[in-house]
């Protein structure tokens, strides 16, 4: 391994190009999402500019998390760049496991990163990961079905309206479900959705003393509302539907509404994949009038693990992949609708991008999400669809499994909440919070 790397580096050196003092081969772990796959296709552009080669390790999201977490906690050093999210970045940054990104070039213009994204990827004001793309969540709905139901979608609807509209749009004979939502177990799947939704119902994960709050009315209301609406108007088997399943249902024309990540907007409006591309409208995620909406905030970002030998090359890659130039490159090759969204302010000031139908609603959704102040009642944690503490992923995965079992009718909502309460308190005790 070492030898082949050295050889490769040596050959690269002989054809050394502008800027790079040394040609390296960097190893990047990333998730198999569409935008990342596209980035891999443009690796040649990076190599041409810097002389560095790139080895990709592309993994499915869950496998990626388990892989990079093991490597970072043991200082394994298998990767020079890791693709991580808003949940991991502040925790890892606080532990000193990531290289601070405070020396980025002036040309890169770090100040252009959307403040919401930069905030979520920082710890104590230091940026530890650069957003490749960012997202909030919003309503995507079928304008034709909405019209047929004789209703009009407001820009900022309430949950009651959504439930009513879902029931009106549902047409079981033609396999049209009024609403498709995530129900799949996993903290990043159904767990993320229900947590964001619970914020708008006035619920929170923990009170200020880190006591679990699943015994509150707010949580019972959230879950009962969700299950009631999904049983009325949701697709069969929604308890196992995650982002992918709902995306394909929507693209096949089987959903009236879908509340999910803003990045999905470019997929559902892409005529080559979506049968309903020309009749999709957008609206802000719903609320209940308590002052918080049910949209989340997330970014897939690139970070450099501390201790890598190839920090310079890795920094150059991050500057390339999350730059304005990269956006221009994708726009020129594949159109503005396909550029990685949600990371830079300048993108939303670009006249070309303003004509993309979902651009404004994406920006509005991102701007209305505040990770530092996500719940109606005060909470001790940062994060909207998660709490940025190391224990959260494990707890929330187990809790969401109980919820999914309730969605599937294997237990009642009350049973699920009681178990969630016990699981959470037990885990928080084990971690020494209580």
């Amino acid at each position: 391994m070492k030898l082949s790397n050295a050889l490769r580096a040596a050959t690269a050196l002989s054809v050394m190009t502008t800027g790079a003092a040394f040609a390296d081969t960097i190893t990047i772990a990333t998730v198999n999402n569409g935008d990342m796959i596209r980035m891999q296709g443009y690796t040649d552009d990076f190599t041409a500019k810097t002389g560095h080669d790139v080895e990709w390790v592309t993994l499915e999201e869950n496998v990626l998390r388990q892989r990079v977490t093991t490597d970072i906690t043991t200082k394994g050093g298998a990767f020079d760049i890791m693709t991580i999210g808003m949940y991991e970045t502040p925790i890892w940054g606080a532990n000193g496991w990531l290289v601070p990104l405070d020396n980025l070039s002036a040309e890169y213009d770090a100040g252009d990163i959307l403040p919401a994204m930069a905030g979520g990827l920082s710890h104590e004001g230091t940026l530890y990961a650069a957003p490749f793309y960012g997202e909030s969540s919003m309503i995507m709905y079928r304008t034709d079905l909405m019209e047929k139901a004789g209703m009009q979608m407001p820009d900022a609807p309430t949950w009651d309206f959504i439930r009513e509209a879902a029931a009106a749009m549902t047409d079981r004979d033609n396999e049209i479900n009024g609403i498709c939502l995530r129900g799949k177990a996993g903290w990043g799947e159904g767990g993320a959705f229900i947590t964001a939704m619970s914020n708008s119902f006035g619920a929170r994960w923990f009170d200020m003393e880190w006591n679990a709050q699943f015994d509150t009315d707010a949580w019972a209301n959230t879950l009962n509302f969700y299950k009631g609406m999904m049983d009325e108007s949701g697709p069969a088997g929604y308890a196992t539907n995650g982002f992918n399943e709902n995306l394909s249902l929507f693209q096949q024309g089987k959903c009236g509404m879908w509340i999910d990540a803003t990045v999905a907007a470019s997929f559902v409006t892409n005529p080559s994949d979506s049968t309903v591309a020309d009749s999709v409208g957008f609206a802000l995620a719903p609320d209940t009038g308590l002052g918080k909406r049910s949209n989340w905030l997330w970014a897939w970002a690139l970070a450099i693990p501390a201790g890598t030998q190839k920090q310079d090359a890795a920094t150059q890659f991050i500057e390339w992949a999350t730059s304005k130039d990269y956006i221009e490159l994708v726009a020129a090759k594949e159109g503005w609708a396909n550029v990685p969204p949600g990371a830079r302010t300048s993108l939303y000031e670009n006249e070309n991008y303003k004509s993309v139908p979902f651009a404004q609603m994406t920006l509005d959704s991102i701007l209305s999400a505040d990770p530092n102040n996500s719940t109606v009642e005060p909470s001790p944690y940062v994060g909207i669809q998660f709490a940025a503490i190391p224990e959260f992923a494990g707890i929330a995965t187990e809790v969401s499994q109980e919820f999914s079992a309730a969605y599937a009718g294997q237990q009642s909502v009350e049973e699920a909440l009681a178990k969630a309460q016990a699981i959470t308190n037990d885990a928080m005790e084990a971690a020494g919070y209580r």
Partner: protein, 276 residues
């Protein structure tokens, strides 16, 4: 009259066996068929069985995204290396168990098997830390050793049951003729046990090929085999049944073909001493 009855019975057996065989094989067949469809046809309702526009597009997309040959090569090296190494260590052990049995032979065999019961995930951290210390992370050598150790008990056991069927008198005779222990094993025992060794090699090659925990968690680039290849297709954004099928077909095709061609050898030795 009797003949008519048997022919009839044979026809009935044939029909039933083909039906069941087809049902068992169907998931694989369907995966292969789907890999040649377009994405739209892959999720068409009702499903299209054969009447679609055959395309190789999925394969070229998959190949463009990930360098299949590199993963394949790693799979071959890891599975092959661990199997050969394991067999080399197991042959002497199995020999001594079969021909110089002691009271504890059975206990040792069962103890060996019991080492397979350690839940892999429980020792991920210890092994990972060990691999970092030894510099074996993402190296083929490290993976070959781990896979060899995982399968060693099975190899020893299979060879042991196979050796036991060889009559001891032949070895006695060889010894009388002045053969040394080494010669005895190399020139008398091994040739007689070739079918058994062949099927042991095959079975363990398959097991090592399909091992998906360590090969995924201890590799990154240089040693990543097909199990890592498939992990980049398992839940993409959107419903890409056709591409998933193409990647799946690419991951299982080599071992499937190998298995089919060598099924006679595999079957002959796959008895674990079940036949007396």
């Amino acid at each position: 009259m009797a003949r008519a009855a048997t022919t009839q019975r044979k026809a009935l057996n044939t029909a039933l066996a083909w039906l069941i065989g087809f049902l068992i094989f169907f998931p694989i067949l369907w995966t292969i068929l789907t890999s040649f469809k377009t994405e739209a046809q892959a999720i068409a309702s009702p499903p299209i069985f054969l009447n679609f526009d055959w395309t190789l597009e999925n394969y070229s997309v998959v190949q463009e995204r990930s360098d299949y040959m590199r993963f394949l090569w790693n799979s071959i090296i890891l599975a092959g290396g661990s199997t050969i190494l394991g067999t080399m260590i197991a042959i002497p052990a199995a020999w001594s168990m079969a021909f110089v049995p002691s009271k504890r032979t059975k206990d040792i065999l069962l103890w060996m098997l019991s080492t397979k019961m350690l839940p892999a995930v429980g020792v991920l951290y210890p092994i990972y830390l060990l691999f970092i210390q030894l510099g074996l992370l993402d190296s083929r050598a490290g993976l070959v050793i781990v896979l060899m150790l995982i399968n060693l008990p099975i190899i020893v056991w299979m060879l042991y049951t196979y050796f036991r069927e060889i009559p001891g008198e032949i070895l006695e005779a060889a010894r009388m003729d002045g053969a040394t222990l080494k010669e005895e094993i190399l020139y008398v025992l091994t040739p007689m046990a070739i079918p058994g060794i062949a099927s042991t090699l095959l079975l363990n090659f398959i097991l090592a090929w399909n091992e998906a925990f360590w090969t995924l968690n201890l590799t990154a680039v240089d040693a990543a085999p097909l199990t890592a290849f498939i992990a980049s297709y398992s839940s993409p954004e959107g419903l890409f049944f056709a591409k998933l099928s193409a990647a799946s077909t690419m991951a299982i095709a080599p071992i499937l073909i190998l298995g089919w061609f060598s099924q006679k050898q595999l079957v002959r030795g796959l008895t674990f001493g079940a036949v007396k």
